[in-house]
Symmetry: C4
Subunit: 262 residues, 4 copies
């Protein structure tokens, strides 16, 4: 049960899907969230899934909020620009299998909207307090890497990190199986958990804005991050708390049980 | 495999679904169980699921009892009242995914019965021995919150607790996706596990009775709780015991196994 | 994926299904295994499942043996007797959900064969070295309990044990939902794991033989147990070893992973 | 979701499926990988699955690589030889259930290609630094064991090891349910994790080459292993790292959660 509900069916021309779900330093979440806000992108679909955490959050003091991912779109404002679909949200899957299933649902949906190119945004934990400010890149094919080689992207992700967990890696990889091109941009960040890194997000935004030929005022980023941070911190700490609570004194049953009775 | 078996198909007029499955302090279980007993509500459907614990309980010394949730109904006795469906049971799901799947099955069933409004009852663990007696509320929409603002409900759940796990949160949230209105009432309780809190339940019952325009004699609540408590304690301690037994020396296999042979 | 393959389709008249899968003291496995051997029951179906352990065992030095459950039948030899179906096997499910799914598959199969009555055999761990020799009973309905009250069965299972894990409990419970009658017989045993208790099995066998109006020579039981024990010990220790190996240094991924990258 | 994508549909005559997925000492991976390289076998299908680890790897510095299994084929070069299908890959399933599901998908695919015989290659961890150089065998039937008894295979696997985890055991076992013959060859190795054992692989290769009537120059094996080792080490250490990261501070939710709220 992974459901995508649409409130509108936009006609888009060769749109790029840009993913910024929660992850290290919330780089993707912040960068894409800021783009949505600055470009006044429009919410047109939401996704929820049995693979998410089995709880609801409370917002605005009283409001029951189901964990969701959201799709926004914005149309090209000039011939140099492209139609864009943004994907942000509260969380990713709780289980390994869920990552594949939710990614496939997202790609089914994207394919129907005509998506042939995916850009995912993530964070790369360096473990150091100081960040080099670099944006690390990886791609599904050589031609994609070459296409983006003129931007300030260090295509040596493989030297810094061996793998990319979750949507930031699986969306381009599984998308590529459908003939889509995929680019993954990772902003370097210290990577301490429950820390949102606006600087890391700004670095990625800088590259992304150039790629997408957009004009974005970065001046409001820090203020926006402050606004977003409360909610993101809450989600993150609640997920952590929930996972810990849930784990306390309880592990999943296994074959051992057969020994007790029956 | 989540099965709902009906023994009767009641014709109900715009019924409200009221959920009281086991949770913190068993507030919901006690409050809804008492309503069922006092209003002589009629059992008309049972639900069992592969997502429940993989054991049966023994009742009345010899009787094999499968873990179940149960649906009761009672018709309005005056024009001020509403037709009601009560949902109580032995347990909720063992796994995260199960919470979503069982909730969706319950909503499919409720929708067929014409349910457009859901009230869930839970407990809010304060961690303190003394309880304020407050009933904390959360709702799916502002209009729902406003509709119930005349009752003694403190709509500041979000300040006290960040999230609601299981059916009490997912039923209104997923129901809302089907156009249903949802209210969740949480009775404050100390929240020590394996403790049934009749006082916390009474507080919620007080509010619920007003909302539903019912006349309920609270005098028998404590006695009823004593009766119910034995079974509830048994279920709870057995689940705890089972989970512990099952976990002992056994964790789920993972990729590591590939290293052993093969 | 739970598959039942039949090598023969016996025509049976109102057969009783008698389950003896591995459990505490291997009481059921030994008792039913001995009946199969003494009554020369015929293997007619095997079941394997994705819910079993993901390994094969090696038998007869070189032979690859997939983990399986097996169905045998024997026809009534006099008008007092009944047609019988026996269910034994190497293991039960590794996961909670699997217990429900495999039990349902077994019941689908049993129903097609005309089964309206199920007797399951298990062990009841007393934790004491000395056993009372009692056979403890539980049943799905009062009429079943009464029907068997003339035999040496102590129908106070509920006082000794609160729950029955796995097939011994779920088969009668889920069978009852299909209108089948269910009886569960538990032989008391010390319950130390990796111990097969022939005495406990003999006690249950004594009752079972009376119920089924069979004449069984108990003299060969101990010898048979010795023969069976090697294999049962091997399965049990391998499952334990496998579970431990698999768990070593590896636990299932969860939401935490989202913090690392992506 | 387990997907097999074919780039070519080779017409094969009674082909043998030879599996060498990662395992102890990477014996199978190395042996089969070397055969593919030396025989210039052709890649014609790839498999990916939701049961694999939920991450992508980075190769060639920038390239996003989804975890996969791969099928290669090579046609008989003389009448003494057979058409062969090779199965290698980056990983096996993360969960027990996945092992069964992926194996069944592989067998569906193999069956369509006309496979009636399966040879799987694995490692047998002796725990000793010195290896005897023996190749240990197991088989699905006596006739298979006899057929291969003229080769240097010690058909006493059952004395050395009680079980075979994953594809090396399940493929022949589940294949046998479809009427296929299965042989499993295990090369003895010290079995220390994250160690690729070229010597153990060479021993198995020696036997395999005789069985398949191939002429293979073993001289390049060590060099090839060095080349392969980097990638295999990376996959292995990443899986280990991922599993450890993922597990850190996070265990799967269970029934306990019901106690917290709701």
């Amino acid at each position: 049960m992974t459901v995508i509900k649409t409130s509108e069916s936009p006609k888009l021309k060769n749109p790029v899907l840009i993913e910024g779900l929660p992850g290290v330093g919330n780089i993707g979440r912040v960068a894409v969230g800021y783009l949505i806000s600055e470009m006044k992108a429009k919410l047109f679909a939401t996704l929820y899934s049995e693979w998410f955490f089995p709880f609801v959050m409370l917002q605005d003091k009283y409001k029951i909020h189901m964990l969701k991912n959201e799709f926004y779109y914005v149309k090209a404002k000039s011939t140099k620009q492209r139609d864009l679909i943004f994907l942000i949200g509260d969380c990713q899957s709780l289980s390994p299998q869920g990552h594949y299933e939710v990614s496939e649902k997202i790609l089914d949906f994207a394919q129907k909207l005509g998506v042939k190119e995916i850009i995912t945004i993530g964070g790369l934990a360096t473990g150091e307090m100081e960040s080099s400010g670099k944006v690390i890149g990886s791609a599904t094919e050589e031609k994609v890497m070459k296409k983006y080689s003129k931007y300030k992207i260090d295509f040596k992700a493989g030297e810094k990190v061996g793998y990319i967990v979750g949507a930031a890696g699986l969306l381009p990889a599984l998308g590529n199986e459908r003939g889509m091109e995929g680019l993954c941009l990772l902003g370097q960040t210290s990577g301490f958990p429950i820390v949102t890194d606006p600087k890391g997000a700004e670095n990625v935004l800088g590259v992304l804005v150039e790629i997408l030929k957009m004009k974005i005022d970065m001046g409001k980023l820090e203020k926006k991050v402050e606004e977003m941070e409360d909610f993101m911190k809450k989600v993150e700490s609640l997920q952590k708390k929930a996972v810990t609570e849930l784990a306390k004194g309880a592990k999943p049953p296994t074959g051992e049980e057969l020994r007790y009775i029956g």
